[in-house]
Symmetry: C2
Subunit: 399 residues, 2 copies
């Protein structure tokens, strides 16, 4: 028996696609009383909400109205713009693949947002990252390996935690005394608070890669005409609450970035070149995708002005695909310029002393694997030739 | 001006080397009142202890006496045994390299236990992991990529948290309501408890790789004569308190493991073969090292019986090198058999239904890089030929 929703939250008028997406993205963070919700994908005119037992419906409705008002308050007057459109590729239609990936044990689901990859799925992961590295090498990028933990101080310097606190995972070690350690053991064996044994954390799990890079070169003054370029793959963590799954929305995932530091023209050109380079490669692979201007999912009250800035200045281009397993487009990567935002925060300057600009091109590695499988299927022999050849060179056995 | 120690804790009689090491390993966890301590490396007869202001010296002394008694109570009646000894290799003496690594920016220290690698140090990291994978391939190992987060339930099933709670890092996401998220933002900007906004964690940062593997094949019954073999590299986390550094004792590091599941003979043979294979390779590289029976650093009260079991049954062999930057040998890896401990815990069985045995061979990737540099120096042109050739094929530029 299906329980009817606790209430239907109606929007003042049907929302634009990006505004509706922004609303639905932030909705789960509005109240712990929300158990689940169902969007109106076709009409974008309402959301059905189920409350947890004892939930305060009036308070939740007020919070949703406040959120939608913040989003509507001018954030989306600038329309998104499509830069590259390959939605017309002739290819079999995308199809959901998660169940098949699991049945073949290419993907082993542990719990929401945590999976193991093996066999051809891991070979695809390696193929994609090798290609990302090859693209980075064409920019002469220095190779770096950064930690997974990042200090709260560094993220705060980048104003990251003020803008995107909602998906953060803290990393507190246990307190160093044996009383706390014993209490932790008891809490694990018999219930009770585990947090009570934790030290106040100075670190969180890194939600992104490029901020490590700015920290690593903090205070650097560039030579005249210099464009610093680096690449790294990083283990990243974003906790998307009830939206976590075992396919496209992982809590624990990997991102490959190519990072640029230099003057505005050079950074802009590097971004444009990386769009061209990625486009050529994906076209060779026969992928269906598009690239459009986008906004980051800033947390509620920071949202309106920053989103406006991003769209108006075309600072973020997103690489998107249709997701046959989800109800909206899936971002595989992005091409970003940050103007002198990080340069000022981390004391990076041009030869003349002005703050340097930065930019980064980012790829969600597991999402490339997933999207490729939805478009090209699960028979490696039918994959495009370069992928097929790479995968055939690996040990594909599965546990 | 050097402050004299608060007190000298004298042992009843000079300790054996392993007992003294076990004592000094656990000492930092005895009390938060301990600010620092200085071991008696030469005589192993005492430890000098500095207390924090207001620290309770009598309580700390009592705790230390208790700890040493637990260790002495029979844990070390079985002498360690050296299986392979290559401490006689003709080579220049090992020398401390951390300052040089930092000066060349091959290693960028962020804070205690967190570093970035780049240039030739990252190329060495890649070389070592490629070699580990090649060794795993000779065993026909399936390749897997596991998450970095591990559930407390899984670790508890493996009894890990009862034995090694002391170095655990928790991974609590923030609570999902906007009040908690706003409080977190305020705590970051203005001080206050960050933990107050955290949800009770169901996951921690994985301290090891192989337990993911047992979870991935939980409940598996093997075919007659089957030896399951898998390999994975994992990001691992062990918070060693004041002993964290930027060289050999990282909080955030990587481990490559080769995991075996089968009957006792096959697992024992696989371990012996992996010792032989690693020995041949390290000999080709002209490394100075030795392999001896060892015990895991179990937390205080679990220590005595398990350590005795490990030594008596030769379940753990450790690959050790001298560390010119530290005061005791450094473990680069280990070769372990676990009898049916994990097989019973995760329902892994042989064809006849009895619990399967497991074993694993583990390599600390960053430690191989560090130890190699202490023995072979920092001039890639003078590195052994296969290393030199591999490194020369990479982009070695540094940020």
């Amino acid at each position: 028996m299906v329980r009817p929703p606790s209430f239907r939250f109606a929007l003042p008028s049907p929302a634009t696609e990006p505004a509706y997406r922004a609303f639905v993205d932030r909705l789960p963070y509005c109240s712990p009383d929300i158990e689940r919700f169902a969007p109106d994908v076709a009409g974008r005119a309402f959301v059905d909400v189920w409350l947890r037992p004892g939930g305060d419906g009036a308070a939740v409705e007020a919070r949703l109205a406040e959120l939608y008002a913040a989003i509507a308050r001018g954030a989306f007057r600038v329309p998104t713009e499509v830069w590259v459109d390959r939605r017309d590729r002739a290819a079999p239609p995308s199809r959901p693949v998660l169940d098949d990936l699991i049945a073949r044990r290419w993907l082993v689901p542990f719990d929401a947002g945590r999976v193991a990859l093996q066999g051809p799925a891991l070979a695809l992961y390696d193929y994609f990252d090798e290609q990302f590295e090859a693209i980075a090498a064409e920019f002469g990028a220095a190779r770096a390996a950064f930690p997974t933990l990042i200090s709260i101080e560094t993220l705060e310097r980048a104003e990251y935690l003020q803008s995107f606190p909602h998906h953060i995972t803290l990393a507190p070690p246990l307190r160093g005394d044996s009383a706390a350690i014993d209490a932790f053991r008891r809490s694990v064996a018999g219930g009770g608070s585990r947090l009570a044994s934790a030290a106040e954390p100075d670190h969180v799990l890194s939600p992104t890669v490029c901020i490590h890079c700015y920290e690593a070169v903090r205070g650097r003054r560039l030579a005249p005409g210099e464009l610093v370029c680096a690449t790294a793959i990083g283990n990243c963590f974003r906790h998307e609450r009830d939206r976590l799954d075992c396919a496209a929305r992982l809590w624990d995932f990997h991102m490959r970035e190519i990072i640029f530091i230099g003057d505005r023209d050079r950074v802009a050109r590097a971004r444009a070149d990386s769009v061209d380079r990625v486009t050529r490669w994906l076209d060779e692979l026969g992928m269906r995708y598009w690239i459009e201007t986008a906004t980051d999912p800033f947390f509620i009250d920071r949202f309106a002005p920053q989103a406006y800035f991003q769209l108006a200045n075309k600072t973020k281009f997103e690489l998107l695909v249709d997701d046959p397993g989800g109800d909206r487009p899936l971002a595989l990567g992005s091409f970003n310029v940050h103007h002198d935002f990080f340069g000022s925060a981390f004391g990076l300057s041009l030869a003349g002393g002005e703050p340097a600009d930065t930019g980064c091109t980012a790829f969600g590695v597991e999402r490339f694997v997933y999207a490729f499988a939805t478009q090209h299927g699960l028979d490696p022999a039918r994959w495009p030739e370069p992928v097929c050849a790479f995968v055939a060179s690996r040990n594909l056995s599965c546990l």
